[in-house]
Point group: C2
Chain length 305, copies 2
Amino acid sequence: MSSTEAAPRGAAAATVGIDWGTTHRRAYVLDAAGRCLREHADGEGLLAARGRFEASLAALLAALDADGEGVEVLMSGMVGSAQGWVEAPYLDVEVPLAMLRERQVGVPGPNRRIRIVPGVRLRRGERVDVMRGEETQLLGAAALGHADGWFVLPGTHSKWVQLRASTIVDFATYLSGELYALLSREGTLAAAMSGGEAHVAPAFAAGLAAAADGALSNALFGVRARVVGGAMAPGDARSYLSGLLIGAEWHDLRRRCGGRWPDAVTLVGEPGLAARHADAARAFGVALHGVDPRAAHLAALASLR
Amino acid sequence: MSSTEAAPRGAAAATVGIDWGTTHRRAYVLDAAGRCLREHADGEGLLAARGRFEASLAALLAALDADGEGVEVLMSGMVGSAQGWVEAPYLDVEVPLAMLRERQVGVPGPNRRIRIVPGVRLRRGERVDVMRGEETQLLGAAALGHADGWFVLPGTHSKWVQLRASTIVDFATYLSGELYALLSREGTLAAAMSGGEAHVAPAFAAGLAAAADGALSNALFGVRARVVGGAMAPGDARSYLSGLLIGAEWHDLRRRCGGRWPDAVTLVGEPGLAARHADAARAFGVALHGVDPRAAHLAALASLR
């Protein structure tokens, strides 16, 4: 994918921002005034680029006509992990997001200014959690005026983050997307499913409600039990599973908030999963504010340059 | 596997009991006095025998020298499911285990008395659960004097069952074994693991403790977060995951018991997983009574003949 925004013809690239994840990569080319000239997304994530990050980046910059010597490259995501290009050590929670700019790690190289934004780590008693990439989205959301409260960034590994005055004070990652993919593809639950990915709203809502119980491993078996026990049609099982997994995230939020739903949650994410979280928010009587992830990333780049 | 108990030479088979599951099958041959003459286990479960149950049983009986015309065959497990040989409709909970004998379903056929024990179903509000095979083990456990309290039958789908005066009053199935297998084999957690299946006791104990939080989908991501966040060695990850999944079962039990641990739990299971549940019971200060699954099945057959 590649697109061009309204920008002066022939404007020169000054900054390239790259969200470089495990399986995907998204790049934005900005001019000196911070206007987005071009953007691009591809599947050359960490797994595909490992061992040849420098060549992979050079090819990307050339394709984006952004390989001038003065171009600054700001990267976030798994590219800064121990398995990435250069490790950018985690910041610990309770550090203001503004520190991300200061703690960027330079990538050694002769011609370009290439920097990687650090991830964030939580170690609190038995709880350990990490993020890489989401902190940059949150920096952008905060710059756009969303600097307090609970945030959800849905995905393969869904993140729930509490910000206070633009500082990450708590967060939790959920395996939801990965569990959904694994359990829909193989094993006992997959065998009880039929039909495609079509969303069945009542089944999703039933899954949301069943997640209140808190016993997820039991509720997961319940996907199969409901089908073989004659309480659910096989074609409803995928949506019910999705409701269970997303519902587990929401009910945990309630628990973290002392057993009460917060007034509002801010979602930074793509439309597909955003729609499911909007269903959940509606079911639980919570206001859901949306932040466009592209706008968040561009706002973050403005803060990081 | 095949073995012979102390029994008169040449004693004739009178009853064959078969626990016929999805992937495995176990058979016991009894004489008219109820003594176990021979037993056998193989991998000819439902999936392997589907479409040819009659031939599969005939071959098994011939191999066990139990194919005489008068031999009675009593089967339990998935063989009685909708995907099995003949469907034996579920009994609903709150039915005394003694009813299993009465509600056996006959398999049509000219020469032999073949019957299938029904499974048990729970439908209580949003909770739906099913079992097939475990009810027969529990009938046997009750006959051996374990007729009250909470029981755990560990496995791919771990069952927790409450008996009251030899009646199943509540039960819950956990996807533990299947989740452990899936998540150890592929995906994000598997990538963070190293080493073999060796049990690491402190990592297992840490998993048991972390499960108290109740947020399983978050705790599962924590397996990876602890490794990449420098809080756990990759070689500990499998045991930690095992602790989390088994711990989730135990902490749910505590919740079901009004937030208090019961005094005792009875385990019907094989030594491997039994040892992990013994670790959990010790950690939580609960007495664990063991019932040998073979003895339970033989006691069940004595009740069902």
